[in-house]
Symmetry: C2
Subunit: 343 residues, 2 copies
């Protein structure tokens, strides 16, 4: 009896050894659904089949890990972009402090309109005027000062609809997709028209994506020394990379130097990144997010029958291109079981 118990103990220990040695594989095949917030359907099926065929040794579509690059647009793809980009809110919120430091701006447009608080008038500001605000609030200070300001704002600012920090407005299904890809050896990147330095302030905490894997619209910096001789970088209004439309594949080449295997976007600004990815040959996974759920999030874009808005819409032309080139169109309404972690 005693011997039996010992044998049974040995068997358990052997099982432990086996589990430790092969645990990773066992866990991977036996694990529960890696995309629980996705409804079963064509989109989820395409994602899972793509990951399996590109990561299974011996598969004709096998791709070595270093080439598993996945690029994601941010606004409207990883988090909410309506009714206004979070970063634009940041810039508008910074105007009072800016005017306090430079009182002469109070009587100058577009700062005068922003200070008035008249939302309708602010929304009507033409793009060149908005760019003046962007330049004034995002440049002309040290990198460290900028980072401190953004950190403070992120902690305090609240989205007007859900009354939550913007960083909570990330889509749960996208979080699952990022993790699923990473657990299969993919390197995940953000490729955003938003400011590179801005997004880098929360990308690691919100998306698990380190700053060096954030590609965004970027200005130059100027190296210099403070009074004590300590070197520092100043953010300059000189544009280095306009990471939108054709700027997305150009930015990908600059910052990664390889063509992505996976790309996910939601607007006309993502067209070139998506078609460039698809044109790489072999199997590629290209996804386009359709915002068609006004109840749980927002509805905009061609499938809604609504007119294109300023923010993040894609046109019927892109929808047609998606069908023609075999991109996967993901519907918020139909493909996502849940939208937010706080739902």
């Amino acid at each position: 009896m005693k011997l039996l118990r010992i044998r049974s103990a040995m068997a358990r220990i052997r099982a432990t050894v086996a589990l430790l040695m092969f645990g990773a594989c066992a866990a991977a095949s036996a694990q529960s659904d890696p995309l629980p917030s996705w409804n079963d359907g064509a989109a989820k099926k395409a994602i899972v089949e793509f990951v399996q065929t590109t990561t299974t040794q011996g598969s004709p579509n096998y791709v070595p890990p270093p080439e598993r690059i996945a690029t994601f647009d941010q606004d409207g793809t990883l988090w909410v972009e309506h009714p206004i980009y979070a970063q634009v809110m940041y810039c508008l919120d910074r105007v009072p402090a800016l005017v306090k430091a430079k009182p002469e701006l109070a009587k100058v447009e577009p700062f005068k309109t922003v200070l008035s608080g008249n939302r309708e008038a602010i929304a009507k500001l033409p793009e060149p005027e908005l760019l003046k605000i962007v330049a004034a609030t995002l440049t002309g200070m040290s990198v460290e000062d900028f980072q401190a300001e953004v950190k403070k704002w992120l902690a305090d600012a609240r989205d007007p609809r859900w009354k939550r920090p913007y960083t909570e407005l990330t889509y749960l299904p996208m979080q699952e997709l990022l993790k699923y890809l990473r657990s299969n050896g993919f390197k995940t990147y953000i490729v955003t028209g938003g400011g590179q330095d801005f997004v880098r302030m929360y990308s690691e905490a919100v998306y698990g994506i380190p700053p060096e894997q954030v590609i965004g619209t970027a200005g130059g910096t100027q190296y210099g020394y403070d009074k004590s001789g300590r070197p520092f970088l100043t953010k300059e209004p000189r544009l280095l990379l306009n990471d939108d439309k054709a700027g997305k594949p150009e930015g990908i080449h600059l910052m990664i130097g390889r063509r992505p295997l996976v790309a996910f976007g939601n607007s006309d600004g993502d067209q070139q990144m998506l078609e460039y990815t698809k044109a790489g040959g072999g199997v590629r996974l290209v996804l386009l997010l359709l915002h068609d759920d006004a109840k749980r999030e927002y509805a905009y874009g061609p499938a809604t029958g609504l007119p294109a808005t300023k923010v993040g819409a894609f046109t019927q032309g892109l929808h047609d291109q998606a069908r023609k080139q075999g991109w996967v169109v993901v519907s918020v309404k139909n493909d996502w079981r849940r939208v937010f972690a706080f739902d």
Copy 2:
């Protein structure tokens, strides 16, 4: 007796379990010298102590893995830069093909001098003339065409002194250092004044550094479509990042977004990267390579008593700054037991 054997078997299995669980740590502490090509001395000691203090849990200097960024200059730090940068050789070697495609260049300087084969005259070409050659041979073609040309050249070209492919002229002690850092959770980057697209063609094979971790002098690209509608990128002569001197910390901010913990250079062009790294506070490892071994490699720079040359020299001023700011000066002659793998 049987019971004893079983108990002994159980003990062995338990030991196996323990080894599997803690194998990594055990292997790390019991492993042989990770830097066998380095002589025992102050430089090697400083490196090993730095890695231990920043990677040991509970150490007051512990740094979490995501912040373990190590940046390396390439020419003269990771491989030989004398008597002429490999990439300059590439550009000169491309001139005949360029003139074949555009015969009118044969009578125009500086192409005429390069075609003459007169090494002395070529060496005397002023920098603006050399830049014309660089622009003409590195831009104006698709990224794919450029990559194919560089690949062919790397396979065929030989260094004049050792008659070996340039890619074999990497320093063995530096290869060991890169691996040692990576095995301790550091992410290794190249930060080079050389062309980003050029160095990316061999960085993974030669240094184990993927293209996305190569920061170099970079031009813009232009997105477009070929006749069949396939998108592609054309290399343009528009300079985006001059990754030398102040351009190095600026490039590090653009491409990484964090300050390095370790930086290694060998010339005045690395000054700003090195002092910017050191100024980050806490413990930082900053290294400066002194080429003082004419027999095994080359001797140039202040310690040799030789005048500064065009290529890769650092001045007495930088040597003084190294001493003052506590950088580690590494001597090829004294700190390296072996220089090349083929020695």
